[in-house]
Assembly symmetry: C2
Homo-oligomer: 328 residues x 2
Amino acid sequence: MIIAVDAAGGDFYPENPVTGAIEALREKSDLTVLLVGPEAIIRKELDRHSYDRDRIGVLDCPEVIGMEESPSSAVKSKQRSSIVMGLAAQKEGRCDAFVSSGNTGALLAASVFILGKLPHVQRPTIATTFPTLKGTRLLIDAGANLELKPEHYYQFARMGTIYCREVLGVDDPGVGLLNVGEEPEKGTDVLKEAYILLRELSNFRGNIEGRDIFPCKADVFLCDGFVGNVLLKFGESIPSAVEMLLTSTMSGMKITPDVQSEVARIFQKSLDSFNYENVGGVPFLGVNGVSMVGHGGSTPAAIRNMILNAAHCVEASVNSKIVDTLDE
Amino acid sequence: MIIAVDAAGGDFYPENPVTGAIEALREKSDLTVLLVGPEAIIRKELDRHSYDRDRIGVLDCPEVIGMEESPSSAVKSKQRSSIVMGLAAQKEGRCDAFVSSGNTGALLAASVFILGKLPHVQRPTIATTFPTLKGTRLLIDAGANLELKPEHYYQFARMGTIYCREVLGVDDPGVGLLNVGEEPEKGTDVLKEAYILLRELSNFRGNIEGRDIFPCKADVFLCDGFVGNVLLKFGESIPSAVEMLLTSTMSGMKITPDVQSEVARIFQKSLDSFNYENVGGVPFLGVNGVSMVGHGGSTPAAIRNMILNAAHCVEASVNSKIVDTLDE
C-alpha cells in the first residue's frame, strides 16, 4: 500500500505533511508513503526526523498551487505541481491514493480531470464528516456541486452509504434528505423528485430537518453543495463561539479561576467530536481513485489520520463497491 | 395601541397567550390587547387572573387552525378562525398588529392574503432573529420563499436593515450575502446577480460564509428560505446538543455533582442569547400590516415579548420606512 502525500499543500508545509506521514508509518506497518512536492524542502524536513528510509519516497514537484489560486487555471498552468503530479502518479499505478491539505477546488478539479469518474457516476462529490451525538457521520455534498438534479441525490445517497459503512464504521447507515419539513411534498421541485427516487432505497429514512442532524436521525445527510458548505462552515464555528460565550459569562459571574479552568477543560473534552483532526480528511467520492482533502490548517495528527483513512478506503475497496451498487 | 393576540394558537393555548398578554399590559401602559379565539375558553382563562378589564377585549372566533394543518386549505376553509379573524380585524383598523404562536404557514398565507403586500414589495418574507456573539441579529428569509430571484435578495436586504435598526436596535446594520466564499464570483448564478444588485447598498458588507454568522460579520444575513430554514432549525438544536455532550462528558470524567450543577448553571446562562423567549416572535416583512409569529411552544414570557416587539414595530413605523426605502 502506497499513499502519496501532498507535502506542498496546506498552511504548514512541508512540516505537517512530513511529520504526519512519519506518524502514519508508525501506525500501519504495511504502509509506504510517497511525499510529493519540492524535493529540496522535503529532504530538509525529513532530515529533522528519524524514520524508515525504505518506506518513504519523494516525488519532486517544483511547482506549488497556492491556497487562494483559481482552481482550474492553477491545475492547467501548473503541470509540475504536487497536486497534478501526485494524482498522475496514482493514475499511473505508482501509488494507491493521494491525500492533501491544499487548495480544495484545485484538488477536486484535478481529481476529476486526472483520475476520471468511476463507471456510472454522473457527478463526483465531496462528502464531509459531521459531528453528531452518536459520533461522526457524513454530510454530502459539502460544496463540490452547488446545484443538484434529483438523480445526483440518489447517487450521492448510494455512494455515501458505502463510505459511511466501510470507512466511518456505521452499521446499516440510514440516509436522510435535508429539507424544510418531514412530509414528502415539502421543499423545492428538485427535492420532491429526489424524494421519489430515494424512496427506492431500503435505507432511506425520509426527509430530515436541520434540528435532526445532531440527534443523528440519519447517518448520511443529503443536501446540495451550497447548503452543505454553509452548514459545514457554520458547524465548525460552534466550538469557538460557545467557548467565547462561556468565557464571557464566567467573567461576568465572578467564577473563581479554578472553576473557570475546570469548566474550560470539561468543555474542550465535550467538543472533542467537533475536532476535525480525528477524521483528518474527507473524500472526493465518484472519482476513479482515492483522493482526500484535509483542512488547510491540518496538524500532523490530522494528516496522519487522513492517510490512515485513505488506506482504509483502498483496503475496503470502496470504489469497486460504489461501481457495483450504481450498476444495480 | 391595540395588539390582537391569537389565543387559539400554539401548543399551550389559551393559558400562555392570555398570561403573556396580561404580562405585556403591565409592561406597557398605553397598550390594549384584543384576545382572539373561542370566547368561552378565553373568558375561563381570564377568570384565573387579575387584570384591567378596560384594556383587554375578546374577539370570539370559534374555529381553530391546528399546528399541522395544510396552510392554504385551513385558511380558506376556516374563515372564523383566530388567524383569519384576527388579521381581518387589523385590516379593518380595529387593531394595529396581530401576533400568534400558531401555524406559521397558515399565518404567512393569511397575512399576505388578508393584509396584502406593501407598495413596491415583490415578495413578503419571514425574517428570524439569530443569536450571535454580539447579540441578536436577523436572518432573512427563514423559510417563506424557498427559492429567490436576485431582486428578492435586494428587497430583503432593505427591509431587513430597517427591522434590524428599528426593532433590534442595531446601529448602522450591515448586510451580508450568505455564500460559499467571499469573492463576488462565488456561488450560483442567482447569487452572483444578487451580489451585483446588493453592491448598490451602502451597508452591503459583501459575501459572508457560514463561519461568519456567530462572529457577526454582518447584522442582516441574507439567504433563501431553504438555507434559512435549515440553519434556523440547526441553530436551535445547538444548546441541547452541547448540553448533552457536556453531561455525558462529565459523567465519564467523574466530576462531582456540585461541579456538575455549577457547570450546568454557567452553560445555561451562556446560552441565554439562544433562548427564543427573549425576542418572542419574528415578523412577516413586506405585508401591509404588522403580523408576527412565535414558537409553537411559546411561554407567557415569549408571548409578552412578541407583543411588545409588535408594538415597537407599530411605533417605529417600520412599514412606512420600508415603503419609503423601496420607493427610492
